[in-house]
């Protein structure tokens, strides 16, 4: 599964975009978490909820996974899972 490294946020309706497209160094507010129940619950419980600010810190040298900073700690997520999180990028 090849992934192009996206540096531009692809805009969804209402100006939101998937977390996986958040550029390195950019931040956004978490809008929603979709996808299957187990992963959803895990991500929500790790703090990705309620409009919290999440920052994309870096991508791994091989492109995946992606490191985020949220609620003061560092979280690593695979791109396919980050895609399930919708964020509103900070201008």
């Amino acid at each position: 599964m090849s992934e192009t490294v996206e540096t531009e946020c692809r805009r969804l309706p209402e100006g939101n975009c998937p977390l996986s497209t958040l550029g390195v160094g950019c931040c956004g507010k978490v809008v929603s978490v979709d996808g299957d129940l187990e992963l959803r619950r895990r991500l929500l419980e790790m703090g990705l909820c309620g409009g919290v600010t999440i920052e994309c810190v870096r991508r791994a040298p091989l492109g995946d996974p992606i490191e985020f900073r949220v609620r003061g700690y560092l979280l690593s997520l695979r791109g396919e899972h980050a895609r399930q999180v919708t964020v509103n990028p900070a201008v």
């Binding site: 187990e38 490191e67 690593s76």
Partner: protein
């Protein structure tokens, strides 16, 4: 069977009479929160590791002496209270009591008293990482909802302070309604205070979560239904029913809720409630978690003071607009360690160091162990009378024990290294770097080190797979680890490559060796990929990994982990290995060669040996010849030839030998004869035995030290029709077989231990050996056609 009757439900906020009844304390907390450090500080050396029956999760318990409590409630030994021992159980690190990894399930079940093997604790100590307050408070809020007496242990306050945040313990205590004790882990400060305050553990008031009104209404509605259906029995206060109703609505699948799902009235009302919520646009899980975090944010902002407010500090309370990235030590180190270029370079260096130390550091220790075992074995053998008992001891028991102990240096070093990597925080970074490669095969970034270690020995590699949270990824890692060509295969590779590829020079030989390693990796990758494809979508929550703050590993903690893992290996795998070594010994030892046969074989060998020097001796003249000057110089060689001949004949005569003959038709298509068959029987216990077994079969004595006589014998061996027994296609086929086949009882024993059942080792055995058979078959058939 619900065990809620084991709870008491005093009016919340009141201290329980937990003093004299304090017997069991549970430690809960996020991973990397300093929980294990606390556990070690409380229990010292009085720890033991067991297993929760039914799951492969370690159960860590220990004992601790608490100071006495005087009748008046004062603290201290002089008050007249008795200091007493309590049992402390270190629950697996969890982020939540609801999400379903095996670790979290166990922690949840223990706290709810649902495990028959573990009674519920009297007090829960929740370890909270002050530098990570929000996420840690999530678990705290869930424990508060359990209604158990609790104490909060606040750790890593120094890390938080370095980031410019001060968490005020007293305010947290006032806000939560339970004792809060500050600890600084590596200094041990606060431990005594914690021990005192355990007696003040309180059931916390239920956190007032700002749930959406509609959701709250549904909870009350369902709570009412539960009260009506279940009544007010033990554990049946309205409060508890509300909590239960909420759990039902968010889809908590704990075993204690199952009886409720069986009641149709409850089920119906639950379904209706969910429908109504859906119509109102409320998703229960999201609403529930968000309400928790709103509460957490409020608490957090009350109890945290930013010491200074530099521009580059991250304030974790509330979803405010963030300032620039924090320049903590961890961030600075990460800039190098997971940098695009330097990250990989350093990673390769660290892995190289790991690999090298397992091989070269371990080798002198392994030799020393082998020597020591041999020495002790010989010592005891000297005390035993000649005969089966002595042979059983020497070649069965001592050899088996030796086979186990010889692994210990490698395993200990590997676990020491792993403990350092994990405690320092680098392990998560290594997984981060490697995940992309391994994810495609259905493995995890954390699979890298187990697989790398398996190049030395699969056993510590498989044990190291415990760090992988996802059960599927962990299982796949365990299943493919033995394909990595381990060091036990090296003697076989060296013998065969050296014998048959010598003509092409050392460069080609190295190339062939490399091909064998690559073949193993390819087989592993293909197997993992097939497992991924077969298993369908992995819904276990994927690869969600926290990258913890870097910290200096504590020597005592590292040593403790090394000790624990190594002793586990020795006891669990060791017993299996020794038993099977004895069985194998018996297969090669019985039935015994009749004495007259032994005599004649020995005689022939001796005469042949003498004949090789140019002297011809008849059997009758042999004793006199050996007395002569010429004979005396040859005596050791002659005796040795005789003994080796007997050993070889004994082996051929034994069950193992007969088995080799028996399977010969089956292994003919691979190019093997019965002698190789016998070798393979021996190799089933441990691969390196192949060489020494072949040595015995060919009657060339101890082939481990010097393989030249064996090589010569192999090359000279001809079958009945005069053709060579050993040819290049045969050698190639045998090499391919050894790359792929599962030939290690020790590995099977460990897989049994790590997966909890004999099913998977058996599947592994059949699959790998079946695949090996096919691959060797194809290799031989193609090569022999091509090269003839």
């Amino acid at each position: 069977m619900s065990k809620t009757s084991s709870y008491q439900f005093p009016v919340s906020g009141q201290p329980t009479s937990a003093g004299p009844r304090l017997r069991r304390i549970a430690l809960a907390g996020n991973p990397n929160s300093g929980k294990t450090t606390l556990f070690n500080a409380l229990t010292g050396l009085r720890q033991k590791v067991a297993n929760y029956p039914g799951v492969t999760v370690d159960k860590k318990t220990g004992r601790c002496k608490l100071p006495g409590v005087s009748p008046t409630g004062g603290i201290g030994g002089s008050g007249g209270g008795q200091a007493e021992w309590v049992e402390i159980i270190d629950l697996p690190g969890t982020y939540s009591l609801v999400s379903r990894s095996p670790d979290e399930t166990v922690a949840c079940e223990v706290l709810r008293g649902l495990r028959e093997d573990t009674p519920p604790p009297d007090v829960v100590v929740v370890v909270v990482d002050a530098s990570n307050l929000s996420r840690n408070l999530y678990l705290v809020s869930q424990v508060m909802e359990l209604g158990l007496p609790m104490v909060v242990a606040l750790t890593m306050t120094d890390v938080a302070e370095r980031r410019g945040l001060r968490v005020m313990g007293e305010k947290l205590e006032a806000r939560l309604g339970v004792p809060v004790v500050g600890l600084v882990g590596h200094k041990g400060t606060g431990i005594d205070r914690l021990k005192f305050r355990l007696t003040e553990a309180r059931v916390a008031p239920l956190p007032e979560l700002p749930l959406p009104g509609v959701f709250r209404d549904e909870i009350h509605l369902l709570g009412g239904v539960l009260t009506a259906v279940l009544g007010h029995g033990p554990g049946g206060s309205p409060d508890r029913h509300l909590a239960t109703a909420e759990r039902l609505l968010i889809g908590d699948s704990s075993s204690d809720l199952r009886p409720l799902h069986a009641r149709p009235e409850i089920l119906q009302n639950l379904a209706d409630a969910k429908t109504r919520l859906a119509t109102a646009g409320i998703e229960p899980v999201q609403a529930d978690v968000e309400a928790h975090y709103r509460w957490i944010d409020a608490v957090s902002s009350e109890v945290t003071a930013a010491k200074i407010v530099p521009v580059d500090v991250t304030v974790s309370a509330g979803p405010t607009r963030r300032p620039a990235a924090a320049k903590t030590f961890t961030d600075k180190l990460d800039r190098i360690l997971i940098d695009k270029v330097w990250g990989l370079v350093i990673f390769a260096a660290v892995m190289g160091l790991l690999f090298v130390s397992i091989f070269s550091l371990a080798t002198p220790l392994m030799d020393a162990t082998e020597g020591a075992v041999g020495w002790v074995g010989g010592l005891v053998a000297g005390l035993l009378p000649e005969g089966p008992v002595r042979d059983l001891w020497q070649d069965g028991i001592a050899a088996g024990v030796g086979a186990v102990l010889v692994f210990v240096p490698q395993i200990a070093i590997l676990f020491g290294f792993l403990a350092i990597l994990e405690d320092s925080g680098y392990l998560a970074r290594a997984a981060f770097l490697m995940d992309r490669l391994l994810a495609k095969l259905g493995l995890s970034g954390k699979s890298f080190i187990p697989l790398l270690s398996s190049f030395a020995c699969a056993i510590p590699g498989i044990m190291a797979a415990r760090t992988i949270e996802s059960p599927r990824q962990r299982f796949a890692t365990i299943f493919v680890a033995p394909f990595m060509s381990c060091s036990a295969r090296l003697p076989v590779y060296t013998l065969l490559i050296g014998t048959f590829f010598a003509a092409w020079g050392s460069f080609v030989q190295a190339g062939v060796m490399l091909c064998l390693y690559v073949l193993g990796i390819v087989a592993a990758a293909a197997t993992a990929w097939v497992m991924k494809w077969w298993g369908g979508k992995d819904i276990s929550g994927g690869f969600v990994l926290e990258l913890p703050t870097y910290k200096l590993p504590q020597i005592s903690q590292v040593a403790r982990q090394m000790w624990s893992n190594t002793t586990q290996f020795i006891t669990k795998a060791g017993t299996v290995i020794v038993c099977l070594s004895i069985v194998l010994w018996a297969l090669m030892y019985y039935p015994r060669l009749p004495d007259d046969r032994a005599e004649s074989v020995s005689l022939n060998a001796k005469i042949t040996r003498i004949h090789s020097t140019g002297v011809t001796v008849t059997p009758e003249k042999l004793p006199t010849f050996l007395e002569s000057d010429a004979g005396r110089t040859l005596r050791t060689a002659v005796d040795s030839a005789g003994r080796q001949a007997i050993a070889g004949e004994q082996l051929r005569h034994s069950l193992a030998g007969r088995f080799g003959h028996l399977i010969e038709p089956a292994i003919r298509p691979l190019g093997y004869d019965w002698k190789m068959g016998v070798g393979l029987v021996g190799a089933f216990a441990a691969r390196e035995i192949f060489v020494s077994t072949l040595g015995i079969v060919y009657s060339v004595g101890n082939a481990d030290d010097d393989t030249t006589p064996l090589r010569d014998a192999m090359l000279a061996d001809r079958s009945a029709d005069g053709s060579h027994v050993w040819t290049i296609p045969v050698a190639a086929s045998l090499l391919v077989f050894f790359v792929i086949a599962m030939q290690c009882i020790s590995t099977l024993a460990i897989v049994r231990r790590e997966t909890g059942t004999w099913r998977w080792p058996i599947v592994m055995l059949l699959y790998m050996n079946g695949l090996a058979y096919l691959a060797a078959l194809i290799t031989y058939q193609i090569l022999s056609k091509v090269m003839s």
